[in-house]
């Protein structure tokens, strides 16, 4: 996740670069790496754009040893082994530097790289060396990455705004913006949910919007909120018996009365406490007490940030510029928080350009 923040630094640094182009940066490092390749006396490989590379063809060309335009017709056998060699690496490192800020960037090079990325798998040839620098990047979906994304996003939540009465809430769409593969992210979140580490809560404004809260935070906040109130007993019973047992978003009438032994009066207490919200007759959503304020700020802030992009010329904004602007008063949760949500919910398209990541409203 370090790289992610460094990407924000990159975004800010890039704005400074425009004023001061003589400073070193990504462009310079690119040529530097090319130079080292030539210096080693390796067979001079062309600096091919990765999208046009056909990785599965490398071994054939390597074995033949005769390169078009290459001088060493004899071609040392040792070199033929270097299938996916260094010339590809700096390009990948370069292009992946650009895609680090928001991994879900749309880029034609990336797209065709992804297509060709599937080809070696089908042909059974493992391209470990080529994928090395890419896989070491934590954003590319390591096993623990959804958890790391959630912890990192929790840092963005403004606790002080709610006087610490609300546990930090993160949205599922924000996790998608950090973990590019949605299916993997969903699976990892489900694992975390089953282990009991996080609770997923339905935020009322959108059927798809799920909030993610650490169970411990939720428990402490709820207990603090219901301290000394008449419904404290029911809430404590709920937290003790139902929360660890049932990891779902919603609860049914028969589940509550038979399995967990709640009386109707106790269920009414829970609704009054804000722990349960009525869904329809006989079923309830799990809820966070006091989340109404959060949802109000969130919806207003999301519309405001989208409006910033919409009002821009051509309905697109550089990410660095958006983050550098002063947040409108309506945006109480922070621009970064909302930008993550917009990208993950695909309400803006993320396009990687030479000036950084560009956020553009989709045409439809």
């Amino acid at each position: 996740m370090q790289k992610w923040f460094s990407a924000f630094d990159d975004a800010i640094i890039q704005r400074q670069w425009r004023a001061n182009p003589s400073r070193g940066g990504g462009g310079v490092s690119f040529t530097k790496e090319v130079d080292t390749n030539v210096a080693t006396g390796a067979p001079p490989r062309r600096q091919r754009v990765p999208g046009r590379a056909c990785p599965w063809r490398e071994p054939i060309r390597g074995r033949r040893g005769a390169r078009p335009g290459g001088g060493d017709a004899g071609g040392t056998p040792g070199e033929t082994v270097r299938h996916c060699s260094a010339p590809e690496d700096p390009i990948f490192r370069f292009s992946s530097l650009h895609s680090y800020p928001f991994p879900g960037t749309i880029k034609s090079r990336d797209m065709s790289w992804k297509r060709h990325h599937l080809i070696p798998e089908t042909f059974g040839v493992k391209r470990r060396r080529k994928r090395g620098p890419v896989e070491s990047d934590p954003l590319r979906g390591e096993p623990g990455s959804a958890r790391a994304a959630v912890s990192e996003l929790m840092q963005l939540f403004p606790r002080g705004l709610f006087e610490d009465a609300l546990p930090p809430i993160v949205l599922r769409s924000q996790v998608y913006s950090l973990v590019p593969d949605r299916t993997v992210a969903d699976r990892q979140l489900k694992e975390l949910q089953e282990q009991g580490e996080i609770r997923i809560v339905q935020l009322g404004f959108d059927l798809d919007a799920h909030g993610i809260i650490f169970t411990e935070d939720y428990r402490t906040r709820v207990l603090k909120a219901c301290d000394g109130r008449p419904y404290a007993g029911a809430v404590q019973k709920f937290l003790a018996s139902v929360l660890p047992a049932c990891g779902d978003l919603s609860f049914q009438q028969d589940q509550m009365t038979q399995t967990f032994g709640f009386r109707d009066s106790e269920i009414t207490h829970l609704v009054n406490a804000g722990v349960l919200t009525v869904r329809d007759a006989g079923s309830w959503w799990l809820a966070v007490p006091g989340a109404g304020r959060f949802i109000k700020y969130f919806v207003k802030g999301r519309q405001a940030v989208l409006g910033m992009v919409r009002k821009a010329k051509y309905r697109e904004l550089l990410l660095s510029e958006l983050l550098g602007r002063r947040a409108p008063v309506v945006v109480r949760l922070g621009l970064t928080y909302h930008v993550h949500d917009l990208i993950g919910a695909q309400l803006v398209d993320c396009i990687s350009t030479t000036s950084g990541t560009l956020l553009r409203l989709p045409e439809t």
Binding site: K114, L118, I119
Partner: protein, 415 residues
């Protein structure tokens, strides 16, 4: 690739593996090719395409002008540049042409002698291909959105028809009348599809956000209603079991029939799989047959946002014969390609000028044909090997080994 060939030759590997790997590679390289074209006949948008399953040679297209055209896809000229010509068409001057827009066409699954077409003029027509006459017409009370005939069935000739009414009608081609009505949906039926695995299983998708699976032999209601929350959420209220949060526009079974993809106007695409396909027919009981597919639940695959603004059905398709199957979904004026089981978006095929309405996959040559409202049918062909670009001459010349430099001088005088 050479490794695969030699392994196949020596018998180390199954020949199917090479075939699948090569099919997948070709599908990944789909793009527009200037050498391949489809003749433009339609004057209105193209609503539906179908390639015959027997040879994969002939393609039917139905347009919003009511015209049906039959194309020959095979390239029998010896040149690489080829336009798929229209063999024949049922144009506006034909006496039996549909009066309004044709919504679905389908070849008869077992040979190309017959095809069916349904249209907004509330009819389903059965055509004889050779004479281009209607062999039969089924009339309905409401406009027909979609119809489908089972591709694998040998025991029945039922055509399932989805109309603007909430009832799914099954028409029997042998007897020429509607034999069944399936009740259960509440709004118009936007898509119907028979399972490619079981003769009697039918899936229907409706504007009331529900997808129902039926066994047509059963007298009682549907087998299952697909529930996006996998039955975990609101079981108290049966009416809340919806497959999507909006209208369900499109249905497609994977080629093995074990998975079902649905697309809805909530901009989502969902994958459903069956738990086990075993036939649990109870012996010795005179009661009705037990369902073949005991349960169907949603596979946890997230495709992201799949934009869907269509008010009618959306016809999308799944590849067949690749190692990892791909689904091609019309997405605005492009076609989005996803891997089915991992949800990864591979690419967006851009080429149409207006909204794409339908696409079909030709599995013999791994080609994709798509029709859109700009009256064009585009052919997406696997790109051949890219020629090695020779922009490296200038950089490598300096690295040329002096032993290989020629000592000739280029000037005549000095020699």
């Amino acid at each position: 690739m050479l490794g695969f060939l030699s392994a196949r030759q020596t018998g180390l590997e199954d020949p199917l593996r090479l075939r699948r790997a090569e099919s997948t590679r070709r599908v990944l390289g789909l793009e527009l090719n200037k050498d391949r074209d489809v003749e433009r006949i339609h004057g209105g948008g193209i609503n539906t395409l179908d390639i015959e399953p027997v040879e994969g040679r002939y393609m039917l297209s139905g347009g919003s002008d009511g015209v049906i055209v039959l194309y020959d896809l095979e390239n029998s000229s010896r040149q690489s540049y080829y336009t798929c010509k229209a063999v024949c068409s049922i144009g506006r001057d034909h006496p039996d042409v549909h009066r309004y827009s044709v919504e679905t066409v389908q070849w008869y699954p077992h040979d190309t002698g017959m095809f069916t077409s349904s249209s907004f003029d509330k009819t389903l027509k059965v055509w004889d291909t050779n004479t281009l006459q209607t062999a039969d017409v089924f009339n309905f009370e409401e406009t027909v959105y979609s119809h489908h005939m089972s591709p694998v069935s040998t025991k029945h000739c039922l055509v399932a028809v989805g109309t603007r009414g909430p009832k799914v009608q099954l028409c029997d081609l042998k007897s020429g009348s509607c034999s069944h009505i399936l009740q259960g949906h509440r709004q118009e039926i936007l898509a119907v599809s028979w399972s490619p695995r079981y003769d009697y299983i039918l899936a229907t998708a409706s504007a009331d956000s529900r997808v129902k699976l039926w066994d047509v032999r059963r007298a009682s209601g549907c087998l299952i209603t697909l529930d996006q929350h996998n039955g975990k959420k609101s079981q108290a209220v049966e009416s809340a079991n919806t497959a999507h949060n909006g209208k369900v526009n499109g249905l497609c079974f994977t080629s093995d029939g074990l998975h079902l993809l649905t697309v809805g106007t909530d901009n989502r695409m969902r994958l459903w799989n069956s738990s086990n396909g075993e036939n649990t027919l109870l012996t010795g009981q005179a009661r009705s047959l037990t369902p073949v597919i005991p349960a169907l639940w949603e596979a946890e695959v997230n495709y992201g946002k799949v934009c869907n603004n269509s008010k009618k059905g959306l016809k999308f398709t799944v590849s067949c014969g690749c190692s990892s199957e791909f689904v091609f979904v019309p997405y605005g004026s492009t076609i989005a390609v996803y891997t089915v089981y991992s949800g990864e978006q591979i690419t967006m095929l851009k080429g149409h000028y207006k909204t794409v309405d339908c696409c079909v996959f030709q599995s013999n040559f791994q080609e994709l044909y798509s029709g859109s409202r700009d009256c064009n049918i585009l052919a997406w062909v696997p790109s051949l090997y890219e020629p090695v670009p020779d922009d490296d001459e200038t950089t490598t010349k300096s690295q040329l080994n002096p032993a290989f430099e020629d000592a000739w001088s280029s000037s005549d005088e000095e020699g």
